[in-house]
Subunit: 229 residues, 8 copies
C-alpha cells in the first residue's frame, strides 16, 4: 500500500481535529491572511469527508468574544461532530474529546487549531504523550504572531509531531489522479488552496478552443508572422 | 447633491472600463495577490451594475497566451458590453471603443486594466487628453512589478488622473446606507473586498444570540467571576 | 507668530475631526498595527484638548458589526462632541456635521478617519471644495490595505490636502518646550506616540543617579580599566 | 493532572527567570518591537505571580549604559526577587543565582532574557547541562538581529530547550477558563499580549446592548432591508 | 496618430540615453535585482533599435573600479553610439553629449542611468531646463538604496519628468500587435521583461497539441470523470 | 576520497531526480521567483550531466492544465530519461520509477520537485523509508506558499532528509577548481545560479586591460591626485 | 556654469543645516538603520566643508533624554557653527538661527534633521515661506516611522521643497572627477555612503596586481583550461 | 570552570577558522548587508586575538574574480595565519589546512566562511565527521540567497554543528565584565557588532555631565515644570 510509511498519512488510520476555528479568535490571527485561513480550514473539512475520515470540532468559550465556530466547517462536512467543552484550554483535557477519538480506533491525528500556539499545540503535545502519531497543519491554524508560529513549529516538531501544510494533506489523502472521485479532490484544491489554478484551467480551455473553433481576434499581420516561424 | 465635487465620482456621469483582465496576463501579476485581484474586478463589475453605470470590457489578443477574459466579469454584470479590438495595445486606439464611450454622453471614466503600466495607463492618458475626468482603480488592475505600479501611479497622477482603490469606488457609488439596495452594496463589499468583515457579522450575531437565547457553554466559575465585576 | 504659515497648522484656527474610529472597523485595518492606531487616535484626542481645539466625532452605523466608537476618545477628551449620523458614508453629507464645524468659525481641519480610503478621504475632499485647509492624519486613520492607503494619500494630496503624521500634529500644536504645560504634551508623546522614549528617560535617570549616589554593581576590575582610560 | 506532560509546563514545578531586561539594552533590540517586548515581559511577571511561581530577576552592569531594569517587572510582581551579579555575562555563573533556583526545589525553568543570543541563551545552556527542563520564551527576550534570534533558537533547541511564546506560557499556566481567577489571567492576555482582543470585547458588548436596549442609529431603510432577509 | 499625446512617447521624436550602466557601479545597486536590471537595460537597447530611435551611451571613469559598460548594450544595438566623457558626473555637462542629442532634432528623451540618484537624475534635470520632454525609466536605472530611488522619483517628477517602467516603454514604442515586426517586440518582452510569459506560451502550445494529437498520459478514470462533466 | 562523508554527496553514488517541473504548476509557485527557479533546475540538469550522474524526470498529468515539462531540462541534459506516470501523485508509487532508480545501484538521491510540499516531499519520504540517503534541493523545487516550504523542510529533515541548495549541489559535485572541466562547472554557476558573478568577471577583465593597454578616459587631474598618494 | 539650474544645487549659494542629530532622538529612528544614518550625517558634514558651504547645527533640549549632538558632526567639520536654542521645536522660530542664515546671503538651504516629521519638516516649511529654495535630505534625517517619513516627503514636496538623498548631494557639490580634490570627495562617498564600493577597489587592485606580478594560486589545470579558451 | 559545557565554547579549546572572505565573493552576498558582514568578520578576527585563539584563514582562487581576502582580517589579527590552497572548494580537502588545525591540539572549531552554503558548510561537515565540535558563525559568513542560508543552517545543525551569531561568540569568549581587558572586548562589540550602542554611551555621558556641571539649555519653564513633579 502506497502510504504505509511512518512519515506519511495513512487515510484509513486518520482522524481530523479542527479546534477553535472561531470568528472572534480569527481577528487575532497575524501569521496568515484571514480569508486564506478560512479557505484552508474549509478544504480540510471537505477533504476529510471525501476521504471518509472521522472529524471532530470544538470551540473555546464560544458565547463570549471568542465568537462562534465558523459555519463553513459543518456546512462543508455534515459528518463532522461538534464536541463542546467546559472551559478547558487544552481540548485534550476534555474527557469527551479523548473518548471520541479513542472510539475511532485510529492512531493518526491531523490537527489544526486557532491559535496555533495554544489550541493546536497543546492537544498535539498531549496526543504525542498518549502515543498518537500527529500531523500539525500549521497553515490551517492561525496564530497571534509570526514569531509565535515559528516557535510553536519548533516546539511540536521537537516533541515528535510532523508539521504539514494543507495542500500536502489533500494530496496524501487523494494519492492518485486515477480514481473515480479525483475531480472532487481537484475542486477542493482549486476552490480553497490554490485559486490561481483556475486561471490555468481557463487558459487551457481557451487554447484548445482556438485549436478547435478558430481565432476570435482578426489580426492578419500576426498570423503572417507566426506562419513564417 | 452629495457628490457634485470635482474630486469625487458622480455616479450619473460615470462609465466603467475593465480592460484586458485575462487569465494569461493574470499570471504575470506581481503587485497584488491574484485571488484578490479577481475579487476586486468582480466587485467593480457588480457595483457598476448596482449603480447603473455603463460598463465596457475588451481583451488584448485573447486567442493567444494572453488568455480569455476572466468569466466572472460578464457573469456578474450581464449588462456589460464586450468590444473586441484588432491588435491595438492602447484600447483608446480602437475607434469602436472611443465611440461606445462617447455615446454614453458621460465624462467621468473609472478605469481598471491588466497590466497597469500599459492597459490601464495608456487609455487613461489618452482619455485625459480627450478631456475626460479619469479615476484609475489601481488595486483592480494588476501589474508585472510593484516598482512599475508605483511609477505608473506617479505618471498618471502627474497627467491629472485620480488614483483610487476598489473600496472607495464602491463607497462613492453607494453614498449612503440609507437606501433600499444598501444590503446589495454591502454584499459586494463583504464578498469581494473585505472578506474579514464576515467574521465581524458572525461574532455580532452570536453576541446577540447569547443575549436572546442564553449561553451554550457550561462554565460556572466564569459566570460567577463576571457577576462579581 | 510662529505658525502663521500656510503650510503649517495654526492651533487657533484648527478643528479636530475624528471619524468612525469603531471597534468593528478596526478589525479590517491592515496598514498599521491596531494598538498603534488606537494610541495615535488617543494622542489626537488628548492633544486637541491640551491645545483647546474643538473636536468632533461621529460613527458609521455603530449598532451593527461596524461596532461602537472606541471609548478612549471621549474618555481622553471630555470636551469632544459626538455627532450621530443617519447612514451617510461621507460625514460631510450630514448637515449637522457641517454646521458644527462652521460654528467654530475656524478654517483649518485636522482629519483622521477609519477607513482611510473612505471615512478620512471623502470628508477631506468635500471640505477642500468647501474652502477649508485640510491636514489628513494618515497614521491615525487605518485602512483595509496598504496599497489603498498609498492611493488615498496620492488622491487627497492631488486635491490639495496636506498629509501629516500624529507626531507632527502634536509638535506643531505644542510649538515650544518653553511653556507651562510642556510636560503634558510630552506625556502624550511618550505614552501614545513614541513609547520607546520611556526607556531613554529611564536610562537618563539611572545615569544621573549613578553620578549622584554611586554604583550599584561591585565590579572592581571594570572601574580600574575605566580609570586607566 | 492535565499538564503532567514532559513537553508541557507543570506550574507547580516551574521557576520564572527574567534576565537583563534593561532600558539601555532594549535600545539594541531589533527582532521585536520595543513596546511589544516590554508588554510581554510584564505579562510574564504578572502571570508568574498569578500562578504562584517563584520569580528571579537580575541585571548586567546596570550602572553603565546597559541601563536599569525596566521598572514594571517588580511593580507587576512584588514577589519577584532581584539577584545582583558582579560582572558575569552568564547569569548561571553567579553562585547566588544558582542557589536561589536550587532552593525552590523546582526543576522546570521558564527563561526570558535580553539579549536573546547571550542573556537568554547562556543560562539556558548551563541549566540544561545541570539537568533542568528549560522553556525559552523567545518573544519576551529581544535580540540585536533577527538572524541572531533564529540561530539562537536553533542552538538552544538542539541542546534540548523547548522554545515557547508568551501567550502559550500564559495559557499553559492558566489551564482552564473554569477557575476563580480566570478573569485575572484574561486581563493579562488582553492588556499585554493580544491588545486587539479589546476591540472584540467592545464589539461584543455593543452587539448585546443593541439587543437589549435597541439601536442608536436612525436608519429606516436599512432596518427594512434587514427585515426582508 | 495614436501617440500624439503630450503624456506619451512619440517614437519619431524620441532619443534613448543609456548612461553609466557599468559592471562596477552595478555592484552598488540595491533597489532592484541585478540580473533584472541587466535584462531591462538590454530590452531598452533592443527596442530602441526596433523602433529606429537614436541611442547614445556613456560611462563614468570606466578605467577605475566603476568598471566597463556592460557589453550587451552595444551587442544588442550596434547602432548605439558611445560618447566618452572626461570626468563630468552629469553627462549633460559634456558638450559632445548635448551636441549629439541636438543633432537628432528630436525633443523627447528616454533616460536610464546607474545610479538613479545621480546618473539618471542630473541629466534629466538639465534636459528639462533645456526644454526637453523627459521620460525617466526608473526600473532600468538601479540605485544605491530604495529610499534614494523614491526620493529621486519625487524630485524629477516635481521638475516635470515623467517616470515610466521598461514594459511601458516597449509597449508605447510598439503601439500595436498588428505590425510586421510584432513578434520581434514580443521576443524582447518575453526574453528580458516578463520571463514568466514563456511558461504561458509553453502551456498554450501543449493545450493545443493535446487537442490536435491527443493525450500523452494514460489515465482512464480521469477521462471518464471528465466525460461526465 | 574527499567526499566520503555521510553528510555530503558522493558523486559516484548519486542519482538526480527532477520531478514535475511543469509550465502550469510553475504558475502556482510563490516561494521563489519563477525565472530563478527555472535557472536552478537547468543548473541541476547540466551539472548532473557534467558529473555523469544518472538523471530521471517525470511529470504529473502533463496533458492538462499542469502543463508540459519545461523543455530546458532535456535540452540541457540529453542523457536524462523521462519516465511517464499514470496518475500517481507520489512518483515513488510508480513501479517504473523505483525500478529505474534501483537499476543504477546508487543509494544517494538528489531530489527537486514542483510543488515542494507534494512532488518533492512525498518521493523523499518514500525513499527514506526505502533506505536511501536523500538530499532535497529546495531552491530548485518551487512551492505554493513560503509557509508551506518552511513546513516541508521541517518535515523532511525530521524524517532524515538533508536539505540543500543548488549552489551547494554544484560545488559538492565539482569538488575542486583543479580539474580539466572546471570552467564548465563555472559556466553553469555564472549562467544559472549567481548571475551577478558576470559583472565581477567583466570588472576583473577591465582592470587587467587598463594595466595592460592603458586608460581610456582622459582625466588629467585624477591621475595627478592618484600620483600624489 | 554646470549647476545654474533651478532644480539643482548651486554650491556657491548653499547653506547646510544639520538639525537635532542627537544620541537620544536617534534611538527613536525606525525608517533607516542607525549606523547608516550616522554615516550619512557625517558625510554631509564633511562634504559641506570640502565644498566650502556654511554649516549650522542646533539641538533640541540636549540636557535631557534627547541627548547630546553626535560628536562626529563637529569633529568632521570644524567650521560648522552650533547655535543653541531655548526650547523652540521649530529651529526657524529661533531668531539667532534665522539671522545666521541670512548673514550668509545665500538662498539655497540643504536641510537634514532628526526627527524628519518635525525637526526637518518645520524649518523646511518656514524657509519656503521665507523665500528660500530648500533641498530636504531625507536619508540623513531619521524618523519615528516609515509611514511618517512618506507622509513628510509628500508634505514638504507639496510645499515646494525638493527631496534629495545624501549621495546626490555629494555628487552635485562635487560636479566632476576632474578636480584636484576629487579623491577627497570619493573618500567621503566610500567611507560613509556606499561602503560596498571598497570591495570594488580591492578587487580592482588585485586584478591589476595579478596582471603586473602574476598569480598567487598554484592551479595548473585551471590555467590550462583558460589557455584553451 | 564556567564554560565547561558541551553546548558552549571553551576558549582554551577553540580554533577560529575564517574562510574565503574575499572582495569578489562578497559582491554575491544577499542574506546580510555587506558592511555588516565585514564588521562581523573583523570582530571575530579581533576577538580571537583577545582570547588568544589560534586563527587560520584561506582563500579560494584569489587571483581571479573571487578577489583578494579582505585586508582587515590580518590587519586586525596579526597572529592569524594564512594557508593558501590549490583549488579545493572544501578547505578541509587541503592537507595543510587540516594539519595546521591538528597541531593546535584543540577540538572546538569556530567556523565562518563566504559563501555559507559552500565555504562554511563543507569544512563544517568534514570537521564533524573528523570528530570536532563545530560552531558555525552564520552572520559572519554571507551567502548568495536567504533561502540557501536557511537550508544550510538546517543541514549543518542536522549533522551536529551548533549555529551561533557573532555577538554570542564574543560574549562566550569574554565570559565576564570583571576582567582586566573587559573594555577591549567592549570596544569590539561597539565598533563592529552593535554600533547603536555608541549612542547609549553618549547619552549616558551627557546625563552624568548634566548632573555634574549643569544644564546647557536655558529653558526656565521646563525646569519649573520638572520641579513641580
Amino acid at each position: 500500500m502506497a502510504n504505509a510509511n511512518k512519515w506519511m498519512i495513512d487515510p484509513d488510520d486518520a482522524v481530523m481535529l479542527l479546534i477553535d476555528h472561531q470568528s472572534g479568535l480569527f481577528q487575532l490571527v497575524k501569521d496568515i491572511e484571514l480569508p486564506t485561513l478560512r479557505s484552508h480550514v474549509t478544504a480540510l473539512a471537505k477533504v476529510a469527508r471525501l476521504a471518509k475520515i472521522p472529524t471532530f470540532t470544538t470551540a473555546s468559550v464560544p458565547d463570549g468574544p471568542n465568537g462562534p465556530l465558523i459555519p463553513e466547517i459543518h456546512q462543508s462536512n455534515p459528518d463532522a461532530i461538534y464536541i463542546p467543552r467546559t472551559g478547558q484550554i487544552n481540548a485534550w483535557d476534555n474527557p469527551a474529546w479523548v473518548k471520541a477519538i479513542e472510539e475511532t480506533q485510529r492512531k493518526t491525528l491531523l490537527i489544526a487549531g486557532t491559535l496555533t500556539s495554544v489550541c493546536m499545540s497543546f492537544p498535539t503535545l498531549s496526543a504525542l504523550v498518549a502515543g498518537y502519531k500527529v500531523f500539525t497543519i500549521v497553515d490551517a491554524s492561525g496564530n497571534w504572531s509570526k514569531m509565535a508560529t515559528d516557535l510553536t513549529v519548533a516546539r511540536v516538531a521537537q516533541a515528535g509531531a510532523m508539521p504539514i501544510d494543507t495542500y500536502a494533506v489533500l494530496a496524501e489523502l487523494m494519492g492518485t489522479w486515477n480514481r473515480p472521485d479525483a475531480m472532487d479532490f481537484a475542486d477542493v484544491m482549486v476552490d480553497h488552496i490554490v485559486p490561481p489554478y483556475r486561471a490555468l484551467m481557463e487558459s487551457y480551455d481557451k487554447a484548445q478552443s482556438v485549436q478547435k473553433v478558430g481565432r476570435e481576434t482578426k489580426l492578419d499581420r500576426l498570423e503572417t508572422a507566426e506562419a513564417k516561424k
